[in-house]
Structures are given as C-alpha cells and as structure tokens.
Symmetry: C3
Subunit: 364 residues, 3 copies
Amino acid sequence: MTRPQKNVIVAAQNAASRLADRDTPFVMNEWYVAAFGDEIKHQLLARTLLGHRLVFYRSTQGQVVALEDRCPHRSMPLSAGSLEQDTLVCGYHGFRFNTEGDCIEVPSQASCPKNVGIRAYRTHERGAVVWIWMGEPEQADLAKLPAQDWMQDPLWERSQGHLSLQASYVRLHENLLDLTHLSFLHAKSFGTPDYAKAAFETEIGDGQFALLRHVVPTTLPPVWAVPTGLTGQGQAARVVRSEFRSLGLHEVSVLFYDCHLPESERAQFRIRTAHMPTPETATSTHYFIVHGRDFALDDPATTRFMHEQLFVAFQEDVDGLALQEQALAHTRPEDLYELSVAADAPAVAMRRYVLARQHQESTR
Amino acid sequence: MTRPQKNVIVAAQNAASRLADRDTPFVMNEWYVAAFGDEIKHQLLARTLLGHRLVFYRSTQGQVVALEDRCPHRSMPLSAGSLEQDTLVCGYHGFRFNTEGDCIEVPSQASCPKNVGIRAYRTHERGAVVWIWMGEPEQADLAKLPAQDWMQDPLWERSQGHLSLQASYVRLHENLLDLTHLSFLHAKSFGTPDYAKAAFETEIGDGQFALLRHVVPTTLPPVWAVPTGLTGQGQAARVVRSEFRSLGLHEVSVLFYDCHLPESERAQFRIRTAHMPTPETATSTHYFIVHGRDFALDDPATTRFMHEQLFVAFQEDVDGLALQEQALAHTRPEDLYELSVAADAPAVAMRRYVLARQHQESTR
Amino acid sequence: MTRPQKNVIVAAQNAASRLADRDTPFVMNEWYVAAFGDEIKHQLLARTLLGHRLVFYRSTQGQVVALEDRCPHRSMPLSAGSLEQDTLVCGYHGFRFNTEGDCIEVPSQASCPKNVGIRAYRTHERGAVVWIWMGEPEQADLAKLPAQDWMQDPLWERSQGHLSLQASYVRLHENLLDLTHLSFLHAKSFGTPDYAKAAFETEIGDGQFALLRHVVPTTLPPVWAVPTGLTGQGQAARVVRSEFRSLGLHEVSVLFYDCHLPESERAQFRIRTAHMPTPETATSTHYFIVHGRDFALDDPATTRFMHEQLFVAFQEDVDGLALQEQALAHTRPEDLYELSVAADAPAVAMRRYVLARQHQESTR
C-alpha cells in the first residue's frame, strides 16, 4: 500500500499545473503539417486541424487552397459542396467562394453582398509536406519553419505515412523526447533491452529540447541491421538524437556504425525521422511521418522493408498513447499525478515551454 | 483571408440571439404530429416527442392512447410492459394503468393507492395523421390546428412517409422557407438550375410566413414532368408557395401548367406537401410527410413513381441538415455566426416568432 | 390526465433526496467482490471497481494482488505491461513494481527513486470469491464481512456466474429487496402470478433489511419443481427471505416443501443465492452470483439445469434495470419522481442507510 505520501502527490499536481496538457488551448502561431501534398487534389478534402474544420483543394494552377469548412450563410460544411474550376460552391444555397475565401455569388440575388467571406489560411508546400499557419496572418513567417533540408535532399531516400492518434499531441512530443520507451513499448519491434539503460545527455534551450543516447555496443534490430549489414551480436553503435524543433516537428536522427572498426575505417549510416504532430482535437492528433536514410539509395525493396517495420513500431506508440489518454481521462482528478525522473527533463521543459507559448498568445 | 470584419461577426451573433435555435426550449402549446394512424395498433409503441418519452397504443374501441412512458413507482418504461385489453401493466412490479393514466391496481396490496398516475395526452386523429397536444391541457383547442382539407379530400391522391432527422426542427422549418436550395441540395433530384434565380416574393405576418417563387418558363424534373406530361424544354410554369402554418406544419403548394398555351386553354396541375416536423430532442426530429396531387387520380403507378422520387429528395434534406447540425455543434462559439440575405427574410421572421412563442410560454 | 398533484410530486422528490441513487458517491469502507478466484491467474486482469481502475494478478505463491492500474510516472495502464515473476513492469518506460505497489526499478537510472509507488489493495479470498477493501486500510476488518457459511459448506452444492449490469448497484439492491417483481419481470422464467399477491412481512434494522414472503400453496416453476419433485399444481410451499446483508452482499434464502403433507413428513429443500453487486461506475455494476442448494448433491446435471434456468431470470433483471436506468437518465428532472408502496419499505430504508453511510464517510 505504498502510494506516495500526500505531500508528494500534491507537489506533483502543482508541478503539473505548469505543464501543457490536453486541456491547454492550442498554440496557433506555429507552422503545422496540414497534409501530405499528394493527399490534396483538385477535389474537396475535409480535415479538422487545431479544433477548426477546414476544407482543402488544389487549384487548377496547382496551389493548395485551405478554407474554413462552414458556409457563413447557414453553416453547411463547404466540403459537402462542389468545386467548379477554382471556386467552391456551397451545396445548400449555392453561395460561391474564391480561393481567397471571398463570397462572389449569391444565386438568389443579382448582386453579391459585400463583407461575406470565410477565412483562407496560408499554406506552404515543401517537399512532400503541406504546412499551414492558422494563427495571426501577419505573423506567418516562413523563417519560423525549422530547416529540414534532408526532407528535400536528393542524396536521401525517403518514405512517408500518416497515422491517426487518439491522444493529445503534447503526449506524442513527450513520448518522442524520451526514447527510454524503446526497450518496453517497442520491445518487439525496434527496441532492444539495453536501450533504456544506455547513457544519455539532455539539452534544454529556449524552445529547443533534445535527448542524446549512445547505445554502444549494441545489437541492431532487423529494421536497421538488414539494410546496414550490421547484423552481428554487439557489433553496432547506435547514437540517437531526439529533438523537439517546433510544436509541429520533432526530429529523430540516428547514426549507426560498426563499433569494432577503427574510426577511420567505419562506414556511417544515418537515418532521420520527422515526426510531425498536428492537433485535431484536444485528444486526437494527425501524426505525419517522413523517414529518410542516406544509404541504400535507389533501392525500393529496402525502402519498403524499412517502411513496413517502422510503421509497426509507430503504431505501437499510437496504441500506447491512446491507452495513456484513456487512463488520464478515467482517473479521478484527486488521484491523478505523475512523477518524473532524470530522463524526463527535456520533456518536462518542453511541456513548460508549450504552456508558456500558449499563455503568451492568449495575453497578447 | 476574407473572413468578415469583427463588427460584422458580432452583429450577426447578436442578431442570432433573437432567433430560435436548437438551444431554445420546445414550444409545448401546439399541435404536433405524434404518428401516422397506421403506426398505432393494439400494441405498445414507444416514441420520444418534445423531449418526453411517451407510449402509444390503440384501445379496443380504436382510440389512440398516449401516456407517459415511465412507471411512477420505479421508473420502468411502461412500453416494456404489456397491454391487457385497454390497460397497461408495468413489466416490473405490475402496476396497472387505464387509458386516462390512472393507476388502478398495485398487485402487492389489496387496495390501490390514490393519487398515483401518469399523464395522458390529448390526441386527435385526422386523415392519416395523429396529432398530439403536449402543452397545458386546458389550451388544447382543435381550432389551433391549421386547416388541411386536401389531406382528407377524396379529390386528392396522397402518399405518406416518415424520416428520422438528426437535426433541430427549427432548421427544417428554415430549410422549407427558402427553396433556393432546390438548385443545389436537390440538383440531382427535383431541383433545376434556374430555380434559385427565379423571382420571389415574401409574406411575413403574425405567425404566418411564406415565400412564393415563379419559375417560368422552366423545364420540369421527371418527378413532375412525367405525370403532368409537361416534358418539353422550357415548356412549363412552376409556381411554388412555401408556407409555415404552425410549428407542426409547413405546407408547400405548387401549380404547374404549360406556359406556352393561352390561359384559357391551360390544364392546371396542383401538388401539395405537408412537412410536419415534431421535435424528438434538441437535435433530432421526427419528420412526417404527406404528399398529394389533384391529377392522375386512381393511378397507383404514378403515386408510387412520385413517392419514390420525392423521398430521394427529402432524404437529401435530411442528410444535408444533419451535416449542418454537425457543423453547428463543432464550431467554436466565437467562430459561429450566420449572415442572411433577402431570401432569408421569412425564415428569420419565423425563427424570431418561434423564440417569442417560447418566451411567452416560459413567462406565463 | 391523472399525473399526481404537484404537491405529491414535490413530496416524492424531497423524499428521494434522502435516498442513495446513482449520484451518491460510492461507500468505500466495505468489502466488495473483486472477482471470482478462478478469474485471477498468473496474468494481468484489468477491472474498474468503485470508479477506480485496478489491475489484478495471482502471485507465484498463489496470493491475489490488486494494484492501481496506472503507472505514476506517465499514466500508462499497468495492465498493458507485463508480469515478471511477482513484479509488474510498465509497458511504457519499464518502471517495475512489487506486489506491495513499491517501485523497485527505473531502467533509465541506476538508483530507483524513493517515494514512488502505487496503491495496493487488501483482498481476501473465501470460497469461490475474492473480496476487496478499497476504503481506509486501517478499517479493513474481516469481521465486517458478513458470514456466508453455505458458500463454503461441503453439504451445499453450488454454481456461480457474473453478469454486466448497465445500471447503478443501488437499483440492483432495491430490485432484490422487493421480489414482487417475480410475477412480472420474471413471468416467463421463475415467477408465478400468485407471487406478487402473497402475504409478506418486512424487517428493518440497523443496516439489515429484509422482506419475507410466504407463497403457500403455489405451483413451482420448472427450475424448482423438477429438482425437488414438487411438480403438482398448488402442491408446494415457497417461503422466501430476501436480505440486504451489506453493500456488497444480498442473500435470498428459499425453503420449499409439500404443503399438503403434515409437518413431520415434509422433506425440506433449501436454496440460497448470494447476489454480490460491485459498482463499476455510477451507472454500471459487476453482478456476481453464487447459487447453492442443500439437496440433489453430487448431481451435475441438476446443477447445470438450475444454473441455466436461473441465469435466464437474472438476465431479465439485468435487462430490466438497464431500461430503468435509461428512463432515469432521459427524464427531465422536474418530471422525475417515484412513489412508494408498502412493499418498498425495506428498499427505501436500505437506500436511506446507504446514503447515510456515504455521508458518514465523507464527513470523517
């Protein structure tokens, strides 16, 4: 019967009040992924982002259009309407909108009223990814989008996928900042038992949070062992950097090499994974993923093999975080507290930062 | 990025506060349709009307009985009990009620306590329809039930149906008062492109709201063209009157004729549709429909053809209004506003009237 | 239109405010059934009791372990983790707990922090049943567990089962204290028409509530007639005692005999049923049942026959109480009232007692 003392619980609950969680309103002034570019065609796509219902389409010129998905006349979802060239026609009474969200026709009258329109959102397509800015338009600066050169670099091979997470995006960022969980949540996929116990360093900066782990020597799981050829027991080094780069992007960078060879003779193998969570609702998240490698280029079989193995592991995160979200939802508030350990420092700092960002927005 | 200016949004939100919507308590002092007569047999039928759970049956004398569907002893739904002759026996402890709602037997004791009973509701069967009065009994005046002679007239041919609408009944009335939507929501069924642009007049009275539209010349959709023979391109006149007659009845009356013939030689074809919404909950509605015509009498094949075509269209309303309801439910309050145009005048006046009726009831 | 007068309704609503219902917080300081012993094996079993999520397993020594089902680190359900010997390992970051709920390992660091742990609950296995005490540990006195000798007595034959009830446990206790309902809810299973009208006595004590009914002479339903041989019309006596023994245990004891034989020549047949409701949530209940008899021992065919017949009847309670719960949930508060009759006296006293127990706990 060793539940912590009441003062420990109260202290933990007080600490939690300074951390972002699913009750924290979304931070709007940030670039988030809206979709992969190949999802957006010359047809209407409805998607809820940051609690807002949007409709997307690609114009005849190839531009991504993102509009509010609600006709301001009688609230019909515009995604249930039709696309005529580059204009969107409401399926209820035929109000017509252009790509800027201006209403340009009301069929029941000869002249279209002024001052009727819907919000159009700024988007930016880079590589496979369409980013969106849903905050204050005047702050939509592309300089705020973290660099991600490898995602467009022809010397990297990539694959991508999209999962539906029934949990808060905050908990996904937290998950990614402490990969201790590889030994447990991913014990059957890409984790190994020694991972959790390996030495780690943390980096905590202003809006940049990282955890580095040197797992050396280790035995690689098949997803890495097969394509690198580092298949021996205890043959490999696995050096991992998990970094929160923005609310919309967490990057995991891994270096593999044969730790029994001298440094000069080592082949180096690098992989990177962009984990791009976009809140849908307080407890659901669009989870976009791009995975890349700088070896075995032009090798579709390896791409396919790695993609399949990786998405088994990412699904484990999705399943686990949904269970965590349910436990959070069904625990009585007085019984709810969480205790942190050293490896949680970057995640805790990140959650403090997210809450501060939200406070900053709401008090402007 | 042309969302309306903040002052336009605020003005629209203020205007909406004077209109009935799904948050408006139901107006009880009104005749609503409870059921079609052929739904009520000598067996128990449970149905929720205006947020109240009722149980219906037809007595051995053929009278419709409408009672509260909850035993006042231990809250068991009486519709889960049994009907014995004209008495209803609770399936839990056997309390027995007569058609007036009086408890007449408690099996566990010799004498039945006084002052135990359930509410019995006044009903009125007219033609195919069973009307119910759920408000103050002393106000249940049949004179308040709008005339509907054609619904019993032997010179009219009729068919009927019942749909389940997952939206507020207020939005169904609104839908019916502006048939502009025929060109869009019903583009594939009984709407035509010219409908929305046709000239219209509005009538706004005290509890009576109508919109008239002259679509002349026009090409009729098959549902009207086939039975009238007005199949030519631009051959027909379509003169439509949509009228809110009470909270329980909206009537659409249409006149068709060949607009190329002189007035004296024209055959006239009339159809009428009684749209009878009865709220179930704040966001669901029993949608009863009777459709009639004054031509092609005694022609069951035409009746069947028109009924099938019409119910495809009415289902489009049901599907569209459910989408609208979802958009209303999932839009943040601060982002929710609706802008009206000239054709909305009758619907806006109707919604103002419904709210006034409710206020009047709640302050008596 | 005979709904009771307003003052009758108001009086009933005031009376209800002194009775426990689904809104009454759970009484924690009581022994409740957690599970049947054969449900708990050397593997993890998740179950919600009294609104708390628990995880159960049987240790390698055969002891039942009951722990909070939430890792205090990051709220992962521990039931999604793994059992290693007698320790439970969280499936997220590998925190390890012993059977007392102490955290004994945090894989990402060499030393395990103090003061991390989860609550372990006291359990007591008796016969087929595992009891649990979720209240204040210092009050967990086995003397508070009502005697239940027949449940372990070798001279009694038993069978057991477990139903999921979508209703408050309070309403199940209420159901059991007035078996008038046998003639109606169980008309097709083990009720007979004369049951409800038979003479009854009530006993109302301090936390002990009972109703006795003498149904003499009567015709037994097959579940009792077949195994006792009392198959004749009006041949049998059926003497029933329903007794609330604690919030976790209601016992029904029945004596059958041939009422046409003189007392000295009568064979007596006794059955008992332990109805053991454990709240899951406010409106759902784990319903554990043990049924025993003191005749036809060592006769598995009779056990099977009776068990099947009985569980048809118990399912009727489960179905009926779920309908009652729905009616309670969907009736407007102003329209909700319940009127009691003489046979309700023990149940009303019981509900008053349960509320008093809860008040007593909450004000300590």
